[in-house]
Each structure stands twice: as C-alpha cells, then as structure tokens.
C-alpha cells in the first residue's frame, strides 16, 4: 500500500488545484506526440498529426488531453486507493486500446515538463520528487491489469 505523508498529499493537491486542465491537458498530450512521435500510433483516427503545428491545432487531440487530466484528477481525489480507482481504466488500456504501458511514463514526463514550465522556480526539487512519486503510482496502477 502506498503511504503518503501530509506534506506529499498537500503538494499534490496544491499542484493540481493550480492547473487549468483545459490548458495543460492539451499541452501535455501535444508535447508527448511531438517529442515521442511513435506515440502517434495510438491516435490514427484523430485526424491530421503531420507536424507540430498540425498536432497543436488538432481539436480531437486537445479534447483528449483534457480527458486525460480529468482522469488524473480521479487519482488525486482517491490518493489512498489509486490502484482500485484505475482498475477499469487499466483493463481498457490493455484489452481495448492495446497501449504499451511504457507510454504512460512518456506522457507522465511530458506532463512534468509542462508543469515545470508553468511553475518555474516554484516547481522545486522536493515538489518534483513528490510529483514523480505520484506519477509512478499512477503509471503502476494503469499497468496493473495487463497480462
């Protein structure tokens, strides 16, 4: 079972309440598709992903980015039961979407970078450490139902 200190819970809640999901969601997903182009394999039906400009102006990608952030919000609201909260999502990603779980880390890295760019010096080493712990738990939970 994951143990969270008061400080860690406070840091995670503080980060997410400072985020505009409609802004950072699309940015994080776009960054992932641009920096790790092979991740585009999962977005074949989303329209034009030909170059960075096309990706950034693609409304389907933007909508999906927002969806992802709201998905993360569920973990934030259920810090003590992330594995259970994500059981269904994990099965979905494995059985229906067939997403290689290594990709979760890639998207997580891009979200980290977007948050770092937004918070600047406010994203201290300690804050990053806590955020990375959270993302590691999320990634682990999303991969749990793969077999």
């Amino acid at each position: 079972m994951v143990v969270w200190t008061e400080s860690e819970l406070s840091i995670i809640n503080s980060i997410f309440s400072s985020l505009d999901y409609e802004d950072i969601g699309p940015k994080a997903l776009c960054r992932c598709l641009i920096v790790y182009p092979w991740t585009q394999r999962y977005f074949g039906g989303f329209g034009n992903l030909y170059n960075a400009a096309a990706i950034k102006s693609n409304p389907n990608i933007a909508a999906h980015g927002i969806k992802i952030l709201h998905g993360l919000d569920r973990a934030v609201k259920n810090m003590d039961s992330i594995k259970e909260t994500y059981a269904e999502l994990s099965t979905l990603h494995s059985e229906k979407l067939h997403v290689d779980p290594d990709n979760f880390t890639l998207l997580g890295n891009c979200l980290t970078i977007e948050i770092a760019a937004k918070l600047g010096d406010g994203f201290t080493a300690e804050t990053q450490g806590t955020f990375q712990k959270f993302m590691a738990v999320v990634v682990n939970a999303l991969g749990k139902q793969y077999h």
Partner: protein, 141 residues
C-alpha cells in the same frame, strides 16, 4: 537524428545557459537526487545539499561538458573521449542513471525557460542528451 535546425537550436540554448551553468547543473542534480534517491549513492563522498560548493562545482562541470559537446554534435565521440574513459573505468556509473539525469536536466531547462522550452526544443534536446549519454557509455564494454 538531428536536423540542421535542431543542432543550431541546441547550440543556441546551451550558449545562453553558460552564465548560469552552475545553477542549471546543480538544479538538475538536486532534482535527480530528490526524484531518484538511488542516484545519491554515487555521491557519498561529497556534500550534495542545495547550493553546496560541491554541488555547484559538479553541476557546472556537467553543463560545460554538455555545452562543449553541443558545439559539434557529429564529433561527440572525439570530444567526449576523455570523459568516456573516466566514466567507464573510474566512475562506473550505471548508464540507466544517464537517462534519469537527462530527464531532470530537461525539467531544469523547463523551469528556467518556461514557455521558451517549446515541444520542438524539448524534442531536440531530448535527442541530443540521449546521443550524449550513449556516447558516454561507449567504452563500458
């Protein structure tokens, strides 16, 4: 594979960082120690607390080496030859850690550059740091 534009962008970014090399380098190291505690084991002989003399000195050294490598990416194997030997035979840092450090360097760059650290710049930098790490590990075996 790095395009001509990407190589120019990389040189531009690192040259701009030269005056704050110690800050960026030590920030990246500190982030790595906070996120991946196992990496601290390579620094048990140093004081790696925030803003310590050792941390700033070390951070500066790393950023200077990266900046030097960026000047002619096609010559990385030549430029890094002495560092290759150092890491392979003396430091023997497990190469998985290069990936962890690169990630934290990217985060440090994002914090420092904000919106200027665009997805395109990020992609170029990630590719460069991966190539740099690969060359650094070449003499390991």
């Amino acid at each position: 594979m790095l395009s001509k534009k990407e190589k120019e962008l990389i040189i531009e970014i690192w040259e701009k960082l030269t005056p704050v090399a110690a800050d960026i380098g030590s920030d990246a190291l500190l982030r790595m120690f906070a996120s991946y505690p196992g990496t601290k084991t390579y620094f048990s002989h140093l004081d790696i607390s925030a803003r310590s003399r050792h941390l700033l000195f070390h951070g500066k050294k790393i950023v200077q080496a990266i900046t030097e490598g960026a000047k002619d990416i096609s010559q990385l194997t030549v430029t890094l030859a002495p560092l290759q030997t150092l890491h392979a035979y003396q430091l023997r840092i497990d190469p998985t850690n290069f990936k962890l450090f690169s990630h934290c360097m990217l985060v440090a760059l994002a914090c420092h550059m904000g919106d200027d650290f665009t997805a395109v710049a990020h992609a170029a930098m990630d590719k460069f740091l991966s190539a740099f790490a690969a060359v650094l590990a070449e003499k390991y075996r």
